[in-house]
Amino acid sequence: MAESRQLEAQLRETAEKLLREKNVSLFVGYEKASLPFRTTPLLLTKTEEAPRLVWNPFCNANLSVYLPRLFLAPADARAAKAAPAPPRVGVVLKGCDSRAVAVLLQEKQVRRENLVLVGIHCPGIVDRRKAEKALGEHQALGAGEDGGGNIRVVVEDGTESTLRREDVLADACLECRSPAPALHDILLGAPGEAARTGTARPGTARTRTAEFESRPLEARWAGFQEVIARCIRCNACRQACPLCYCKTCIFEQNRPRWIGPGTDPSDLALYHLIRAFHLAGRCTECGACERACPMGIDVRLLARKLSAEVEDLYGYRPGESVEATPVLSSFALDDPQDFVTEP
């Protein structure tokens, strides 16, 4: 819709101003990619580059993924003394991305005083795979929004077709409960867009989890195996996740080697169980992992369940508060324990 054009202009202005007034030395946003339905992350340092910034329904990466590594402390004290001061960074955030920043702050991976958070009210973003599927035989050459918020595509023979927005929105966006970036310094756009277009279906994650859960045990195992069978262990899901910031990932450690690097079915199952578990009580349900997956795997199958459990058992939703103690670092004397054998 025209609105995102307008937002894009505001975003460029904002970035330009931040850089010009030396409020930030680096600005992280999106730029046009060479393929349709995609954007590429853009790391800006010069004001004159600000016009390269874009804002559209294809801005699907969670840009907060870049932040922890910008503030990595040097390994030893002497190097730390000599190291330049960490940069001040501006970053574009959708609702879910801003929750990821909240978790990064909570876990002390980034410094608030070094961040300028530019939030945008998120109308939901397009899942490239859904769009490609909707086009069937056709190959998209270019894509953009039409006036009504739907997606207009030019295909190989030059003809145009329109994809209905709700048919191609990412699952995470259909399931999203808070598209407004709660944590921000600057806020662009207006709320309620998702509701207005009638696409938001909060609670769908629960329905999907309940559906999977209602299957018998063996069918769940078969379902899990079927979902992960195509995984090639490329680690894209891990790389795309802002909360997978460990310097040495447990999947890559070799002394001890915790897990084989290949696609042995047992290693695959462990990879997905552990990845989900490491994000328990931390995942902000941005869906960056599943959109990054080259194999189109439902990467959040297990994470959805853990999010629901964390909320039901401990009344906790990650990314809602910077001050709260992370759910797995805290406890209550009367935490439920019916899972315990002979409690």
Partner: protein
């Protein structure tokens, strides 16, 4: 050979309560089936869920974790923090289609030799009924 199959069960026992409880069961000559392979850990809070999954991957048919009763942890709250991790891990495994009986958590104090033996017997019985672990075990070679 299914007729000869005996479950192999890893037992992670916290040093201060459950390990002493297991020891007491032995010293008191309380009989229970010999299927546990006991690993002593400083505290139930030391247990990384990865330990349990790795155990299953390497051929264990089940895992038992036991710590001090809530409130009695030698390090005050190790078992309370662990309780949240274990609750989520168990839910996660169940959801993914693994038999919930394969991974069990419990509390046994240093004076509860009888309780340790009873729980061991119960867990071993349940896992024996389930049969060998086939889902997570890695076939080497």
């Amino acid at each position: 050979m299914p007729s000869e199959w005996e479950p192999r069960i890893l037992a992670f026992l916290c040093n201060w309560c459950s390990y002493a409880g297991a020891d007491l069961a032995g010293v008191s000559r309380i009989q229970y089936p010999p299927n546990l392979r006991i690993i002593r850990v400083p505290c139930s809070g030391r247990i990384n869920p990865f330990f349990l999954l790795r155990g299953l991957q390497n051929g264990a048919d089940g895992v038992l974790v036991s710590g001090c009763h809530p409130g009695d942890c030698h390090y005050i709250s190790g078992n309370l923090a662990a309780r949240r991790k274990f609750a989520l891990l168990k839910e996660l495994m169940k959801y993914a289609g693994l038999e919930p009986e394969r991974v069990q958590f419990t509390w046994v104090s240093a004076s509860e030799g009888g309780r340790f033996a009873a729980i061991a017997e119960k867990v071993i019985g349940q896992i024996r009924k389930l049969g060998p672990n086939k889902k997570l075990v890695k076939s080497h070679g």
